[in-house]
């Protein structure tokens, strides 16, 4: 694996920081949505996507953090208890790492100038899209981690509590580092609250991980085997990615519910989540979208862009599902290979015992040991396959569902506007009839209604325009994040493959002289 030695921090640009910073700050001050978040915590549990940054394309820091994350993640992968230390240590490590590079705040805000070519494009917006993209280049330090799954209670009323730790320099939080304990239903509750508030605006709200009755029951019942440990780890990692995506989202981060979720010690128990999970909500959205698509819809000027994007999303969804199925198959086959290798190793050892030529017997035993080591290798690789690749795909399949929901929201808004227009038309017809029939009192009422509906039409049109802008912006942001996510995760995965091969070379190199020594 390529050595990920910390780079020497570039010379601290004290004064130079001010100008680009203030320039961008000016652009920022217009809208509240420009507070962006920094990199994900690299030392926190393994296999996180670098979703947490909406920063500039110079991913030098995220690169480094990714590779260090891979280092720590390979070794700490199985240990949930890595963060059973004090929460302070969690971030202490992080801050140490970050100090080896640039201090993150200045680094990220000066990120644009770190690669001069990008700075130029950043400060000269040419189109609306570019404008939207550069606002992402601002970033503030914000890291969240989900760690220390603990079982609280016993029997069927037991539940897992997770520690949610935040580290931030954002002024809107009371402290810089803090943590709270949350349970799974709290996460679902957060999602629900956010959906209710924001999905109507066309925001892409990251969906939480799905409920699993089977998985949780095993945990509750206290089955201490590897499958329930796997389940807990899988859920913990998924919850962490979920939170990171939420805080990465500029508008959602501003939401007081999010703040409350992160900060408040005792959260009121979320109700109704036992019936409504992320998946259920998505199903509702999907049903609605089906209904809407069945109605005939007039094509308006910007629909071409939206139609294209929706189509892209749908075909991508198809491919991702296909890919996910194959990766699943790979995970299973690798687990099978792992088991078969173990069994083979044992039978080789037995054969070595029977063999009466001493040198050959020894060599066969050595071969058995090599195969044993391969078994471990396969097991770890299968875990990589799953946690890096399969979960990434699963996340994005769910996210694409949310994106579709978003587009459908826009359609509904358009629908509402169109319906208002036709209602207005009808009211006008009524007015005309009344004029003809000469009924002055009813006429007055009709005129009032017309005014009311004219107001509504204008309102709905404005709503539609607004949601179109939001959806468009959200989509572009989503695409960018997705691109980054995929790239970093796949590179991480390839690096895990690389490590496997290196170990393989080591094993066989050790064995070869043994084989040659047979006489």
């Amino acid at each position: 694996m390529a050595a990920s030695s910390p780079r020497n921090p570039p010379p601290l640009r004290g004064a130079e920081n001010q100008d680009p910073l203030s320039e961008m700050a000016d652009e920022d001050s217009d809208e509240g949505e420009d507070i962006f978040v920094g990199n994900s915590n690299p030392v926190a549990e393994s296999f996180q996507p670098d979703t947490a940054n909406g920063e500039e394309p110079a991913d030098l820091f995220s690169e480094e953090e990714t590779s260090t994350a891979v280092n720590s993640s390979i070794t700490t992968f199985k240990s949930n208890g890595v963060h059973s230390d004090n929460e302070n240590d969690l971030f202490a490590e992080v801050s140490v790492e970050l100090s080896m590079e640039n201090p993150s705040t200045t680094a990220k805000t000066s990120g644009a100038e770190f690669t001069p070519s990008l700075t130029l494009s950043a400060t000269q917006p040419r189109s609306m899209e570019q404008l939207e993209e550069e606002k992402d280049e601002d970033s503030f330090d914000m890291d969240v981690a989900v760690t220390n799954p603990e079982k609280i209670g016993d029997g069927m009323n037991a539940y897992m509590a997770y520690k949610v730790s935040t580290r931030t320099t954002l002024p809107m939080f009371r402290n810089r580092t803090f943590s709270v304990w949350r349970r799974f239903s709290d996460f679902l509750g957060l999602y629900e609250k956010l959906s209710v508030k924001h999905s109507l605006n066309g925001c892409i709200i990251p969906p939480p991980p799905e409920k699993s009755v089977v998985g949780m029951t095993k945990v509750k019942v206290g089955k201490e085997d590897s499958s329930s440990a796997d389940f807990v780890e899988r859920r913990r990692a998924a919850l962490e990615r979920y939170l990171q995506r939420v805080v990465c989202h500029p508008s959602l981060l501003q939401d007081p519910d999010v703040r409350e979720f992160l900060e408040r010690d005792e959260l009121p128990r979320a109700v109704g989540t036992h019936t409504l999970s992320g998946a259920g909500f998505l199903k509702m959205i999907n049903r609605a979208s089906d209904a809407v698509s069945k109605m005939t819809i007039k094509i308006s000027y910007s629909d071409a862009w939206f139609d294209n994007k929706l189509q892209e999303v749908e075909s991508e969804d198809l491919q991702l599902r296909k890919l996910h199925a194959v990766v699943d198959s790979l995970v299973n086959h690798r687990k099978e290979l792992c088991g078969n290798t173990a069994v083979f190793a044992k039978s080789m050892a037995m054969l070595g015992n029977s063999e009466d030529n001493t040198a050959l017997s020894r060599a066969l035993s050595q071969l058995a040991e090599v195969e044993d080591k391969m078994e471990t290798l396969h097991q770890e690789q299968a875990a990589s396959d799953f946690f890096i690749l399969a979960e990434l795909l699963a996340d994005y399949i769910r996210l694409l569902g949310a994106v579709r929901g978003c587009f459908e929201q826009r359609m509904k808004t358009w629908q509402r506007w169109q319906e208002a227009q036709s209602t207005l038309q009808k009211k006008r017809e009524v007015e005309a009839k009344l004029l003809w029939a000469n009924k002055p009192d009813k006429l007055q009422q009709a005129k009032e209604e017309i005014t009311e509906w004219e107001g509504k039409v204008t309102q709905y049109e404005r709503d539609f325009d607004r949601i179109s802008v939001t959806v468009r912006k959200e989509f572009l942001r989503f695409e960018k994040e997705k691109s980054k996510d995929f790239k970093s995760q796949i590179v991480k995965y390839l690096e895990s493959l690389l490590q496997s091969q290196q170990r393989l070379v080591m094993f066989w190199e050790a064995f070869l002289p043994e084989a040659k020594a047979i006489a």
């Binding site: 890919l323 029977s354 997705k482 070869l512």
Partner: protein, 407 residues
């Protein structure tokens, strides 16, 4: 005794493989008899092997000649050795397994039926895969038939066998039909009787330490080789499945990559290309493991069985000898048919001693051959695994370097 490893065998997937490969017969000091399979043809339900002989022995009409033989004729030859009392004291080289293309053919057929449900690229790819698989199985069966012939040719006694010479030289069909149902049933019963008898015979404790040790050793060894052989097969099958999955991942990534020309799509294309290459290597790893490990174990499963058979025959001869002794004592006691008993006792004694003598040497040679074959194959296995792992490593390193450089 000539050494015969499990061939320098055709490295099925190596680029240098061209045509026939004579098996490496290490210690052959005289080239008076060299046999190889120079060609093979696969027809619908049979394989035709061209057996090519080079010999300076006087019994042959020419110095170099070829005949075409089918699997059944090999079996006939093998069985004739087994049934020949003169060869009771030798390890009869195990018969080659029947060429089995059923599984491969079935897969090709299924592929043909499913042609409509996949893209053209996928179909062509899978077809190539299956054809390569078919070719590999084909080469393997040729190698196994060849090894059998070479073992016979290397054996100082068996190489002189008349049937063997007929097999090599007679350029017409040997009219050896495969066993019909009745004969197969007879074989089955013969085997049942033999194994029951084998148990009885094995129970007789041998005076000779060497043979007693060999008996215990071979029994255990045979069972463990059997176990190792089946486990290795299963492991290699899983390995092939993994390679297949990587293949499908590469295809799907390719489709994703061709949807657009964005950054991420280009990324997908590069990764898809990488997976294409790594899975080829993975497939070769599985194939090499099959060749160097699984086939080795399978062969020694068969050879250890042949050695067990030898011990059984010797054991049988011992029991016969002891019975003849008892009969002689009885005859002498009763003073009836003494001469007859004496002759029969003599015969049994001679038979037993003849077998014992050659058996000892055979078993020692078996050990030498086995150790050499394992050494050769294990070394080659390790070298190939290293080669492939390093190849994979290089691919991954360069790809990761490119991908990271892009971002």
């Amino acid at each position: 005794m000539m050494q015969e490893g499990l061939d320098d065998g055709p490295d099925f997937l190596s680029e240098e493989d061209r045509g026939p490969r004579a098996v490496n017969v290490d210690l052959q000091t005289d080239a008076t008899l060299q046999v190889d399979i120079s060609d093979a043809l696969s027809e619908r339900d049979k394989v035709k092997f061209t057996v090519h002989t080079k010999s300076t022995l006087p019994n042959f009409k020419q110095n170099e000649f070829s005949v075409v033989r089918q699997h059944e004729e090999f079996i006939w030859l093998h069985d004739s050795f087994v049934e020949n009392e003169e060869y009771a004291g030798y390890i009869i080289p195990p018969a080659p397994p029947r060429p089995d293309f059923d599984a491969s053919r079935e897969k090709l057929q299924k592929l043909g039926e499913g042609e409509g449900s996949m893209t053209k690229e996928e179909f062509t790819k899978m077809k190539q895969e299956l054809e390569a698989e078919y070719l590999a199985i084909f080469k393997k069966t040729v190698a196994m038939h060849e090894v059998f012939l070479c073992r016979v040719a290397a054996h100082p006694v068996l190489r002189k066998d008349m049937n063997f010479h007929v097999f090599l030289e007679y350029n017409q069909d040997l009219s050896v039909r495969g066993k019909n149902k009745r004969e197969k049933m007879e074989d089955f019963f013969k085997n049942v009787v033999k194994s029951a008898d084998g148990v009885l015979v094995a129970g007789v404790k041998d005076v000779d330490d060497f043979f007693e040790h060999e008996k215990t050793f071979l029994l255990e060894y045979h069972n463990r080789v059997k176990d190792a052989s089946s486990k290795s097969d299963r492991m290699i099958r899983s390995h092939k499945s993994v390679a297949d999955d990587i293949n499908r991942i590469a295809s799907t990534l390719y489709t994703l990559g061709t949807q657009d020309s964005t950054d991420v799509c280009k990324f997908f294309l590069k990764v898809s290309e990488l997976f294409e290459k790594t899975r080829k290597i993975e497939a070769r790893v599985a194939a090499d493991e099959d060749l160097k490990l699984a086939d080795l174990l399978k062969y020694y499963l068969r050879e250890s069985q042949a050695a067990k058979d030898l011990l059984y025959r010797r054991g049988r001869a011992l029991v016969d000898y002891e019975n003849a002794n008892k009969a002689l004592d009885k005859a002498r006691a009763k003073n009836k048919d003494v001469l007859q008993a004496e002759t029969s006792q003599q015969v049994c004694c001679q038979k037993f001693e003849k077998i014992s003598e050659s058996a000892k040497q055979e078993l020692i040679d078996f050990k030498t051959r086995r150790v050499a074959a394992f050494r050769k194959n294990l070394v080659e296995l390790a070298e190939l695994e290293l080669k492939h792992a390093k190849g994979n490593l290089q691919l991954l390193q360069s790809c990761v370097g490119v991908l990271k450089g892009d971002t």
